[in-house]
């Protein structure tokens, strides 16, 4: 019995030693990429190409993918990271609040955005419910799948896009909030993350999934069945990639590399809208350029929102946010 207790005490110590050794090994030319859940395929292509450049020669990457908000909090709490590639600027702000990136992180080339996307719908093959725009989502009998905006960054884009689209169609602020409330009454599953929501939709629940256009393309690439609808109007999604303050020069070089036209073309052919727009003129990307033609009509800096910090406070504050009232109206 006593031997067992001794063992119980020794095991955590042994684990700590192993973890410590693993961390020690990461020193030197390792770049720790901490990213949100879905860009793994495109990031792996970029990383393997980077290895063949003079700046990337001999640099090894450790890669971590997970829900954007959780990744941001993990970095803020001390997870080793040299590059953060997250799904909202809000999550970079979380890291900035911990002092790990500069407060004005977006004063960088391309405002520190590596790629864009837009808020889009995925419907069943053949679009049997004839869903084309935002107003179709609140027709009777339509079942919508979107994650819970309190747990998922991607759902925040969805909520703001729905509100923005309603405002752009001429609704007053009050009417537009009512529209979002009505929309959430059609939501049949408020999953905890974007990937769980996709799982729900592709396992057969609901008529429409609200998601990023890029996520829809990665789902299709993984063999999932569905049809992408880019509603008009819709919202621009910007995906920030920043180097942490104490990152090595290799990490900074990688971010510059990701903005080079060749790499932007890789983003474009993987379902992301490039921030270097000129690459869409390349003949081999003509089919993708056509897919990206339906452009976003508003973004987070629009007067409707006033940037992430303001939008987050007004919409997603735990006590006073508009979404709290909407969830109560749905659940009450």
């Amino acid at each position: 019995m006593r031997r067992l207790l001794l063992l119980a005490l020794l095991v955590p110590v042994a684990c700590a030693v192993v973890v410590g050794a693993a961390q020690a090994r990461q020193a030197g030319t390792t770049v720790n990429l901490v990213a949100y859940s879905t860009p793994k395929p495109v990031m792996q292509k970029l990383i393997s190409r980077f290895g063949h450049t003079s700046a990337g020669n001999g640099v090894s990457f450790s890669q971590s993918y997970g829900p954007s908000g959780s990744q941001a909090r993990a970095i803020a709490a001390g997870q080793p990271a040299s590059i953060a590639f997250l799904s909202t600027g809000l999550d970079i702000d979380t890291i900035a609040d911990a002092g790990l990136v500069g407060k004005n992180w977006n004063k960088a080339p391309y405002s520190a955005i590596a790629a864009d996307s837009v808020v889009a719908f995925v419907v069943r093959p053949g679009n049997p419910k004839h869903i084309h725009g935002w107003s179709d989502l609140v027709k009777s009998g339509i079942q919508v799948v979107t994650p819970n905006p309190f747990s998922s960054g991607s759902a925040k884009w969805n909520v703001l896009a729905a509100y923005g689209a309603a405002r752009k169609s001429g609704m007053s602020d009050h009417k537009a909030v009512q529209f979002v409330t009505k929309l959430f009454k059609h939501v049949v599953s408020q999953d905890t993350s974007g990937s769980n929501a996709a799982n729900t939709f592709f396992s057969g629940k609901g008529d429409v999934l609200i998601t990023y256009e890029s996520e829809a393309y990665s789902a299709f690439a993984a063999g999932k069945q569905g049809k992408l609808i880019v509603p008009r109007p819709t919202m621009l999604i910007e995906l920030p990639m920043v180097a942490l303050k104490d990152a090595t020069s290799a990490a900074k070089a990688f971010i510059a590399y990701a903005h080079a036209p060749k790499q932007q073309a890789i983003f474009a052919s993987n379902g992301y809208r490039p921030v270097v727009k000129s690459v869409l003129k390349r003949p081999n990307l003509a089919s993708w350029a056509k897919k990206y033609k339906t452009g976003p009509t508003f973004n987070i800096r629009d007067r409707l929102f006033g940037g992430w910090l303001k939008a987050n406070r007004i919409w997603f504050d735990q006590n006073t946010g508009r979404m709290v009232g909407i969830e109560r109206a749905v659940g009450g």
Binding site: R2, N148, S151, Q190, N196, G331
Partner: protein, 281 residues
């Protein structure tokens, strides 16, 4: 004991042995309390501390949120149903496994523990595939409260079975035979002989199942639907609070869950004390 040892100085060797025993007891108590402090007491104290960090008003605001209240109600309601189901089916399963001999018994016996070996998120995914919108057997209960109970039954199945089984194995059938030979009917034998013997085991299993059901999250996130006020259990509610940057609010609701669980566990413990009092005489 110690007083009698003091009055009997000629028992020196035994006293020395006892002193050694005391020392080793002190060491093991020390080790256990250190272990429990690190693993249980400190984290719970930190949780309570975190929940009160923003003041009593914020604590009250967090726990009186109607969606938090409905998540707590749903969680305790579902856990209660699951415990009842487990008590009935767990006991029957244990009974069949111990008392009935049938081909494949050892296989069934091994299957009981499988839900423990499966990562709960995989359990959720499997249940979704089986009882979701594309159910191959035509049962679609996903995204309802039924799905929550089903998932919880899946992950808590082994508890009652495994706490009742050893008691049944130890239980002397002579007592039952004696009762029958004295003319007791089968139901009377079960009520007066078998059940009182099994009750402590059943209650132990029920406590474990209850605790597990209250805190479960992995198997529920995919299958519950998580609609606030309808199918959002408290663990998912707390996750949402954390993810939206309100750890104090999350801790407050968790403390309520913890407090209520503690009271419930104490109540079952008291019940267990009550039903086993005849054993201790």
């Amino acid at each position: 004991m110690e007083a009698s040892a003091a009055r009997a100085p000629h028992f020196r060797p035994r006293e020395a042995a006892r002193a050694g025993g005391r020392a080793s007891t002190a060491i093991s108590v020390g080790i256990i309390s250190t272990f429990l402090t690190v693993v249980v007491v400190l984290p719970i104290a930190a949780l309570v501390w975190e929940s009160h960090k923003s003041g009593a008003h914020a604590f009250w605001q967090a726990v009186s949120n109607p969606l938090a209240v409905s998540a707590l109600k749903l969680t305790f309601g579902a856990a209660f149903v699951v415990v009842i189901v487990n008590i009935v089916f767990g006991t029957v399963t244990a009974w069949v496994l111990v008392r009935d001999d049938f081909p494949g018994r050892s296989v069934v016996n091994a299957v009981i523990d499988l839900p423990f070996a499966l990562p709960t998120i995989v359990a959720g995914l499997t249940l979704l595939a089986l009882y979701g919108p594309r159910s191959p057997i035509g049962i679609d209960v996903a995204y309802t409260r039924t799905a929550i109970v089903l998932a919880l039954c899946f992950v808590t199945l082994p508890f009652v079975v495994r706490t009742v089984q050893p008691v049944l194995l130890e239980l002397d059938t002579e007592m039952e035979e004696a009762a029958r030979s004295l003319g007791a009917r089968q139901t009377t034998v079960f009520r007066r002989i078998v059940l009182p013997n099994l009750l402590p085991g059943i209650l132990s299993g029920a406590v474990l199942a209850l605790a597990r059901a209250l805190g479960e999250i992995g198997s529920l996130v995919l299958i519950a639907g998580n609609i606030p006020g309808h199918t959002q259990v408290v663990s998912v509610y707390v996750l949402n609070q954390i993810e939206s940057g309100d750890p104090s609010g999350a801790a407050a609701v968790a403390v309520v869950l913890l407090g209520a669980s503690f009271v419930l566990l104490l109540a079952v413990g008291a019940l267990r004390f009550f039903v086993t009092r005849y054993e201790r005489g």
